[in-house]
Amino acid sequence: MTMKPLSHPFALSRQKHSSGMALIITLSMIVLVSVATLAFFSMVTSDMKVESSRANRTKADLLAQSGSAHAMGQIINEITSPTFSVSTNFGDVTSYTPRYTTNAVPRRLISPALSLTDVGFVNLIRQSVPTADSAASTDATCVRAWDGRLVDTNRWSAPALLGTAGFTADSQLPNWVYVDGTAGATNTPSAKTIGRFAYNIYNIGGALNVNAAGYRDSIATDQMIYLKSSASGTDMTKLGAGITQADITKLTAFRNPDASTTDAYVDNIAGARHDGFLKTLSTSPESGDIFHQNLFSSRQDLLRYARTQNTAFKNITSSLTHFSRSLTAPNWRPITPAGSLIDYAAIADNPVSPNRNIPNVRFGSAGSFSHYDDSGEEITRSVKVGDPLIRQRFSLAKLGWLTPAGPSTEYFTNPGDGDAPIKSVFGLKWNVAAERWDYYGGETTAQSAIKTLAEVAAEATPREPNFFELLKAGILDGSVGSSLQPDGTDYASYYGSEDTRTVHKNKDLQLLRIGANIIDCADEDNYPTVIALNYSGLAMEVAGVEDLPYLQSVLMAGMREQDGTKTPVNLRLLSGDLVWVPVFYNPHRTSPATPVVGPAAVRFQAATGVITKVDYNGAGSVFPQPMTKDLTTLGTITIPKTAGGNSVYGFEDYRNAPKAALSNDATDPQRMDKLCNYVHPDTGLIVTNVDAAYANVKAFRIFSWQKEYTGSGKQTGSFNWFLKTPSSFLSNGIAYFFYPQQVNLVMRYQTPNGNWKTYATLGGNEAIPTSGMNGCKNDGVSSPTQTIRCGMHFNTGGLISHALLQVYYIYSFDPRTSRFGPVVNRFCDYGALPAMSYSTSGNSGAPPGLFPEAGKTAGIVSGSPTNFADVDGLIRPNDGWLGNTTNTIQTNPYRQTASATSLNVSHSSRPVLLQRPYQSVAELGYVFRDAPWKTLSFFDETSADSGLLDLFTVSEEPEITAGRYDLNAMLPPIKEGALSQTALDPYLGQSPFVPTLLSPATITTTASAYGSGTTAYAFSNGVPTSNVPNTLGNLVNFMSYNGLSTAGLDPVKFRREAVVRSLADVGQTRTWNVLIDVIAQTGTFPTAGAPAAGRFIVEGEQRYWWSVSIDRYTGKIIAQQLETVHE
C-alpha cells in the first residue's frame, strides 16, 4: 500500500494569499507582542498565586506533619505512661513493660458513634475525637469550610482499611484539632488559629503484608510446610469470599516475576524471608539464585493495584498492608502458671531468675562482638551499656553446623573454620578424642554450668547468649531437674540413691540433653549428639535422642530346677541361675526417610556395677553368697542395624514391640541356654534350664549357684552337688535377692570412628558410678535393704522356673530417660519375650504401659495413669493425657495395636524425629524433654517451654522484618489464613506427602475463638481480655481455652500443636504498626464573627498516610514511611 504524502497546510496558504503576506506578518507580530505582554502580566499574577499556594502547601505540609506527630504522640504517650507501663531505666535507655497484659495492645479510642464490636472497624484504633484526644474539638470535619471545602465520609474512607462500606455517617468521623499560633494544638478555635488537622489511626499490624503474603498455585504439600513459616504461607483465599487462588497467583506473578515455577517461588521466598521481605533483590540462601521483587511501595500503590490490576483484592484491602515491620527481638517474659509454687512473673526482672523479662535484660558493658548468620558469616556488632542483650531470635538453621564428627564441612570448609562460630553460637567445642562436644559457654575452659542471661549480660566483654543459655532462659526453671516429689515422697519401688537424684535434679544437665535432643530431632543422621558438662575435670555426658532401640527394661529372672523325682518334702534344688534379660524398644514412629548415616550397631552393657551378695530367699536369706562381682565383665549384647547373620533382630524390629535380643548362634555365650544349665547330680548330664522358646534369648547371668556358690548347704550327688530345699521355701515360695551398687546399665552406639559411646542409661550417669542403681525398696520389703528380687514372684512361683514370665523388671517409665526411676515392678509382662499380647485396653500391669497418658493428677499408683510434679509443684501432663482409657480417643502409643503382638509403628501418638531442619519453631514440640513421655510442650497452659516460641526461629531474620503480623490485632480472617493448609502431621520425607489438614471447622472456630465475637480468648466485645497474648509464648495458653473445646482439635499432642505451628512463625506481639491518616488545613477565621468550623477559611491542605512501626517496649519508632496522598 502506498501512502499518500501529506500536504503541508502552509503551502496552500502561500499559493492562495501571497499578496496579503505583509499584513499577516504585521498582525502576527502584533499578536505575538500582545501575547508576550499578556503572558508577562499573566506570569506575574500566576507566580504570585503559585508562591502563595506553595507557601500554603508548605504550611499545610508542616501542619500535616505536626498533626501526624501529634497523633503519633498519642500512641507513644500510651506506651510511656506509667498508667500503662512499668518503666525501667538502663542508662539513657528506658524500657516500658506493659503494666497489664491488656496494655500490650493499643487502646481503641474512637468515636462514640462507632461500636467496638463492629467488625468493619476493627482496624480503627484512634481518632481525633474529644474522648480520645483532649486537643480534639467538637467540630466535625464534614462541616463545610467558609469556602465550601469539606472532608466527608468518602474521603476519610480512602485508606480502605475499614469494611467495604467504610465510614457511613458523619458522626463516625474524626473532629478537628485546631492549631493556635501560640498555644499549639487546641480544641478551641480562635482568632489565633493558623490551621487545623484531624486524624484516624489504624492498626495495620494485623494485616497481611502484600510484599510477603501469598503463594502461587500448585505448591506441593511439603513446600507448603516451608512456606507456613512466614506470611507467604498464609492462605489469602480466607481473606474474602471473592478471592481465588488464581488471584493470589496473579499477585505473586506480579510481585515475584523471576519465580515462574513453584520451586523457584519457594526459593525466592527463602531469600525474601532472609531479607525480611524488605529488598527488591533477594538471594536465596538455598540456591544462591537472585530474585527481583516488585514491592508495593505505598498504600496508594496497593490500592491502585487492587483497583486496576487485581480487582478481586478490592474487597480485602482492609486485611492488607504494604507496610508492617516487627522487631525480631523477642519480648517473652514468663507468666506464672496457675498452681505454680514459683511466681515466675514476679521475679522476671530479678537477675537471679533464669527466666527473665527478655526486653529488660541489657548489656552491662560496651564493646563489640561477633554475630554469625546462618551461613557462618561473621558480622561484627557493637553495643553500648543498656542495649538489649537479645536483638534477634536464635535461628535453628544454625543447628546444621553441628555433625557427629564435629563442625560441618558443608558450612566450614577448612578445619578450624567452624570453631569460633560454633563456640560463639552454641558454646561448644568439639573434642576429637572423646568424639563429643564439650560445653565451654563463653569461657576458655570446659564448664559445669550454663549461665543465666543476667550472668551473660554482666560479662566484661559483651557477647550474645548462646543456644543453651537461651534454652535456660526460655524453659521455666522449676520444670527441669525434677526428681522425686518435692515433699520427699519415696516410692516403694524406687531404685536409686541420693546420688541418682542429684544427677536427675541437675537442671543444666537436663537442659543440655534437651539441647542435644533439639539437635538430633533435626539432623539427618542417626548418631546421637553427645555433649558434656565438665565438673572439675569430670565430664558428664548426655546424648540426644535418635531413632534407635532403647533399653526399655531389664527382666530379672531366677531360672531354677527342682528334682521332680522326689517327694515334695525332699525336693532338691539342682540349679539356680540368676539372669538379666535386657528388653529393647524404639518408641519412635516409623520414618519414611530413615537416615542412612548412623550407627552400624548398638549394644547393651553394664558401664559400672558391683554385686556384693546374692541369696535365695523364701522367708529368710538362704544360701547367701558374698561377693565383689564386677558387672562390667558380664559381656555385651549387640544389636546390628540390620537383622541377619546370627542376630534375629535389627534396629527396625524393636519398633513394633519391646523385646529381647535373640541370637541364632548356638555358641553365643550370652544365650540363655548357654547361661542357664547345670550338671545333673545323678546323671552327670548337662541339662539346659530354660524352655526352648527362650533358649536363644540373650542375657547376662548375674550368678549361678551351681557354678559359683561357695557357702554352706551343698549336698553331694554322684556327679555334682545340689541344695536341699528348706521348708520355708515350700510354704512361702522362693525368689532371689541380690545386693547391687553403682549399677549403670547403658546403651552404646558405634561412632563413625568405630568407638562405643553411651546414649541411654538405666540408672544415673556412668561418670559418677554411685549415681547408678543402688538397690531399692522392693515391694513387700519396706526397709531399705539394698536388695532386688529376681525370678518368679513368691505368690505365683513354684520352685521351678524355666520361662521368662511373671518376673520382676527394672524399668524406666520411658525408655529414653531414667528420670523418676529406674523403678522395679513385678509380675508385669509388658514386653518380655515372646511379645506380649497387646490390646487396645493397654497391656497388663502398671507403668510404663499407662504412663504416656499420665495427666495432671499426682502420685504414681500402679495401674493408674498418674504423674509426677515438677519442682515448681506443677504436674504437667504427659503427651498422651488427652486420650482416655476407654479407647475412644487414642493417644497412648502402647494402646495403638497393629496386631495382638505388635504395636502400630506409624501411629501419630508415637514420638517423632523429624531428621530434617525445623520448618516451624513450634516443631520444637516434637523434641523429647528428658522426662517420661514428655516433649517440649506447646499444647497446654501448664507449658514450661512457651518461651522457646519467641526466643527461637527457624532461620535468621534481619533485626526488622516485614514477614510477621501482629497476633493481637482483631482480624480473624488473617488467622484463618494462617491456620488454613496446616498439616497435622509432620513432613518426614513421604512421597507423596498427603497430610491431613486442619479442618475448615477447626480453622473457623479457632480463629473466632481467638479474637472475635462478644466473648473470645484474646478479645471480648472489641477490647482485649486479660488473656491477650503479650508474647508469642502465650499461644500455649490459648490452647487451653475452653472456647476451643468445640474446635475439634486432635487429642494427639503433636497434631493438636498444629494450631501453634501455624501461628508462631508468622506472629509477633512486640511491635505496633499503625497508619495515621491525617488531613491538615492551613487557614484562618474571618476577623469578624466567632470562630467556628464552618467559618474556617482554607488556604492550603495536605493529607498524609504515615505508616509507623513502634517498639512497644521502648516507645521507639523502628520504621516509618510518610506517604503524600493524592486525591
Binding site: 531437674g481 546420688d499 541437675n506 569430670l538 518334702v569 562381682k629 536341699k724 515350700l730 559418677i768
Partner: protein, 255 residues
C-alpha cells in the same frame, strides 16, 4: 583412756586374745548370769573405735538347733528334720572365720578376712568408702563402707534391750532383734539375733547373727599409719572426683 585401751598398752594383741578367747568361749557355753533388768542404755549402743586402734573378730558357725540330720560342719536343714531318708553328705563351705582390723593413725582402716579354706581377702576403708578387689580381678572396687563391726546393722533401729548380762568377766548390755524388724526383712520370726555390748566401753563383745557367732576382741592401740597401695589410691582419687562433681551439682541444685 578406757580400760580396754589401758590393757592394750600393757600387753600385746596376741597375749590379749589368748587371754580373752577362753573366757569368751566359756561365756558362750555356760549359762551367763543375767543381771536384773535395767533401763535401756542410750543410743548409740555401740561406739565406733577411733583411729589408731586395732581389733579382731572370730567367727564360728553355731547350729540353730541340734538336729539328727546335722551335718559334719554343723549345718542343719530344717526341711530334712524327721525325714527317714538318709541325708547325703554335705560339702564344706568356704566361710570367713576371722577378721583382723587395723585402724591407722591416718584414718585408713585395713581389714583382713581369713576364710575357712585359708584364703585371705584384704580391704581398706577410707572416708566412708570400702575398697577391695573385684572377684578374680586386680581391679579395685569402691563401695559404700560397711559398719566397722559386722552383724550389728539391726542394733540401732531393730533391737529390743534385754538387760545386763555377764559374758565372761565383762558386764554387757544384751539385745535381741525385734520381731518387727525381722518381719520387715521377711525373715522367720525365730531367727536368733543377739548382741552383747560392753557396759564399760560400748564396744561389742559378742554377736549371734543367725547361725554365725562373732566374737570381738578388745580394742587395742595401733600406733602406725595404714599404707594404702597405689592402685587403691588411684581408685580413691577416681571416686573423689565423682564426689567433687556431686558436690558441685548439689550446690547448683540448691540454687
Amino acid at each position: 583412756m578406757n580400760k580396754t585401751f589401758k590393757a592394750a598398752v600393757c600387753g600385746s594383741l596376741s597375749t590379749l586374745l589368748a587371754a580373752a578367747l577362753p573366757a569368751l568361749l566359756v561365756a558362750a557355753i555356760l549359762p551367763a548370769t543375767l543381771h536384773a533388768q535395767s533401763a535401756s542404755p542410750s543410743q548409740p549402743y555401740v561406739k565406733t573405735p577411733p583411729s589408731g586402734t586395732s581389733w579382731t573378730i572370730d567367727i564360728r558357725q553355731v547350729p540353730r538347733k541340734a538336729k539328727p540330720s546335722a551335718t559334719a560342719n554343723g549345718q542343719t536343714d530344717p526341711a530334712t528334720a524327721g525325714n527317714a531318708e538318709k541325708a547325703p553328705a554335705t560339702l564344706p563351705a568356704v566361710m570367713p572365720v576371722r577378721m583382723e582390723s587395723q585402724y591407722g593413725q591416718n584414718k585408713v582402716r585395713r581389714e583382713l578376712t581369713i576364710f575357712s579354706d585359708s584364703h585371705r581377702e584384704e580391704s581398706f576403708t577410707i572416708k566412708g568408702q570400702l575398697l577391695r578387689r573385684y572377684d578374680g580381678s586386680d581391679k579395685v572396687a569402691v563401695l559404700q563402707a560397711t559398719p566397722v563391726f559386722p552383724a550389728l546393722e539391726w542394733l540401732a533401729s531393730g533391737s529390743v534391750y534385754m538387760g545386763k548380762e555377764m559374758l565372761g568377766d565383762k558386764e554387757c548390755h544384751k539385745f535381741r532383734i525385734s520381731a518387727e524388724y525381722l518381719q520387715s526383712l521377711n525373715w522367720p520370726a525365730e531367727t536368733p539375733y543377739f548382741a552383747w555390748i560392753s557396759v564399760a566401753d560400748r564396744y561389742p563383745v559378742q554377736v549371734q547373727a543367725d547361725e554365725s557367732m562373732y566374737t570381738y576382741s578388745d580394742i587395742v592401740p595401733f600406733t602406725k599409719n595404714v599404707p594404702l597401695p597405689e592402685d587403691y589410691k588411684a581408685a580413691v582419687e577416681q571416686a573423689s572426683r565423682s564426689q567433687r562433681a556431686l558436690e558441685m551439682m548439689r550446690a547448683q541444685n540448691g540454687r
